[in-house]
């Protein structure tokens, strides 16, 4: 539309247009100003949108419009960066036995799409259609129903993982507005143990955000395989979705297997105790379990990357820890080892601004050898102090949690 076309519209229509293009201060502008602002943004609007945001117009309480605009910018940047990983001109070489093509674009540098490769490509989370977003879902759902690909041995289904990725990205960009530092500490290939502070009460947002931060910010979108307790294997509905999105069970065997396959392993060794920290103890990192992660990393000769996550411990501030409720839960899930249940005030997570800092990797000292239990505890303690220092540093520089 030219400026002439624009000025023939009513002011109301102009404001609607201005809202679509996210022009700040549109409600206070005069008609002439609106026409000017609209015609100056004309160029941007003509640019094809990599993935239309279905929720752009919805106002989220507690999130300012400038944050939304920034989130949208970040999201667009991510989408356009991810789309460069696939070649939409070339289609996947896979053919069914009756000659039907797969129809998905190939990932750059390989003859097949992400689904029909040799299965080792599952570590890398390149979007199958080259875009994230609801517009990709019809094609993903088609792949899901055709089921012509194999899942990972831990149950990762790349199609479902991608759908989950897209949905949780709304939390990541628009709600928690995650800032990531030190992403260059994540190795581009091979295994590593990401050790983070735990605390989310109610729901394990931090596991999801840790995974997303690597997928969204790292140069190559790698998956972080987060391991969780057996409750994730028991809860109806959660149990399989969690697997399909890339999770595994927090058993030594699982962790070892994941590292042996060269995956990034995400662990929260604080476990339940970290999960149920009351809000006045937030960001005081507790003992990191028995330090089993140190032993695992040593055994697999992979680095340990301490991760400080600020935000997770405030989204559901825990005000009470109840043992009686735990007994009730045990009635339903008798197999769950559970001592107490955290009670938070708010059913809806608070719109906290998250910061995730990846700290320099701790290389294994004597690769391949087992640590004795004292070394193991010492290394775990060092990692704990590193995370605590980083947390304190982030907390001292931030002005508000929101």
């Amino acid at each position: 539309m030219t400026a002439q076309d624009l000025s023939s519209l009513t002011k109301k229509q102009l404001i609607v247009l201005a809202r679509e293009r996210n022009i700040a201060g549109r409600s206070t502008m005069s008609k002439a100003q609106l026409v000017e602002a609209l015609s100056s943004t004309e160029q941007d609007v003509n640019r094809p949108d990599p993935a239309p945001d279905a929720f752009a117009g919805i106002n989220i309480p507690g999130i300012s419009p400038s944050d939304r605009a920034q989130a949208r910018e970040k999201r667009d940047a991510l989408y356009s960066r991810l789309s460069s990983f696939v070649d939409t001109e070339v289609h996947c070489a896979w053919r069914s036995s009756d000659g039907h093509p797969c129809g998905l674009p190939v990932t750059v540098g390989s003859p097949t799409c992400g689904l029909h490769g040799d299965g080792t490509t599952f570590d890398c989370a390149i979007p199958l259609t080259g875009q994230l977003g609801f517009s990709a879902w019809p094609r993903l759902l088609r792949q899901l129903s055709l089921a012509t690909y194999d899942t990972d041995i831990f149950g990762l289904d790349p199609v479902i993982a991608e759908m989950v990725w897209h949905v949780v990205n709304m939390l990541y960009f628009d709600y928690f507005r995650v800032d990531v530092e030190g992403i260059e500490n994540i190795p581009m290939e091979g295994g590593a143990v990401l050790v983070a502070n735990h605390g989310a009460a109610a729901l394990p947002y931090d596991g999801a955000m840790l995974g997303l931060s690597v997928m969204n910010e790292a140069e190559i979108p790698r998956r972080v395989r987060v391991i969780g307790t057996e409750i994730f294997n028991m809860l109806p509905g959660v149990s399989h979705l969690y697997r399909k999105a890339g999770g595994a069970y927090a058993a030594r065997e699982d962790a070892r297997e994941l590292l042996a396959r060269g995956h990034l392993l995400g662990v929260f060794p604080e476990g339940e105790r970290g999960f149920m920290k009351p809000v006045w103890d937030a960001y005081k990192v507790g003992r990191l379990g028995r330090g089993g992660f140190a032993d695992l990393a040593q055994e697999a000769s992979v680095p340990i990357i301490p991760v400080a996550i600020v935000g997770s411990e405030e989204v559901h501030p825990t005000v009470m820890v109840s043992k009686r409720l735990a007994m009730l839960v045990k009635l339903v899930f008798p197999e769950q080892r559970l001592d107490a249940v955290a009670i938070a005030l708010n059913p809806v997570p608070l719109p906290i601004r998250w910061r995730i800092r990846f700290l320099p990797p701790v290389e294994p000292t004597a690769p391949g050898h087992e640590l004795d239990s004292l070394d193991q505890l010492e290394l775990a303690e060092n990692v704990r102090v590193t995370i605590q220092t980083a947390l304190d540093d982030i907390l001292s520089t931030r002005r508000t949690a929101f």
Binding site: S145, A147, D150, T151, I153, G155, E230, P236, V238, A251
Partner: protein, 313 residues
Amino acid sequence: MQRVLITGAAGWTGGHLARRLEEDVDLEILGVDDREPKVQFDSHFEQLPLDRLTLAQYVLDVEPNIVFHLHSVHPRSVQGQSKDAEERIVGSLALFGALERLKTVQKVIVKSDTAFYGASARNPSVLSESARPHGSPSRYERNLREMEQFIGDTAGRYPNMSVTVLRFAPIFGPSVGNPISMFLQMRAVPTMLGFDPRMQFIHETDAVSALVHAGNVGVPGTFNVAPEGQIFLSRVLRLGRRVAQPLPSKLFDKALTMLQRANIVIPDDLRGLLKFGRVTNTSAMANTFGFTPAFSQRGIALDVYGRNPETMA
């Protein structure tokens, strides 16, 4: 001329194993079981009560060189119907007692089951042979553990005898007719609401091939036998175009009870499997034992439901 003894030869696997071994003219095959054979084969078949000394006496009489012990746990205990505690693995006790006395036996191949590991939320995602089982075991699982323990002890005493224990993933195939295959081939399959277990199957022909392979190579040890990888139950049903009917656990149990009228008896261990699933590590099978199944996990599902092979809907 080598003499091969197959216990449990009346079952589908035993019968087909006998048929496959008959192709080799150097082998004399003898089958024993306490039931009428399901699959007809040309070799000699003897119907004996397998839980008595008669089996031991028979083994001492025929002096076999290779023993395929498919009757390691009594089928009735698989279904959880056996009342007699002794009956369950007494066949194994009798057989191994006789084998200890005989010095002619070179290879013993024991058919076990990955049900050994049980099905529990606390099991590691990928079970290797050394994994410690978690959770409270069903009767069948307990029997398997007892049997393997006993066989392991016996094998330790006789190093000249090569004992191969094969832990088979649930055998799934179009003709095997075991509970899990019959269950999954129904038009509509009840599933547990909110659970989509990670499964691992082995194709019926691959199960027989694995036994034949074990008879040829005689690698001692315990091996998980299944194609690599896993498959979600929902995906199996989707590939088979079966309707999954999710039911809450109470109704699910009721549905399983009702299925008994249709002669599909789902034992306790399978119920656990349909909730938590079970996936094993098969690298020892591929590397040490040296066996590669012909069907992949998806290939099995496609073959069972007659969708040959990879087609687009």
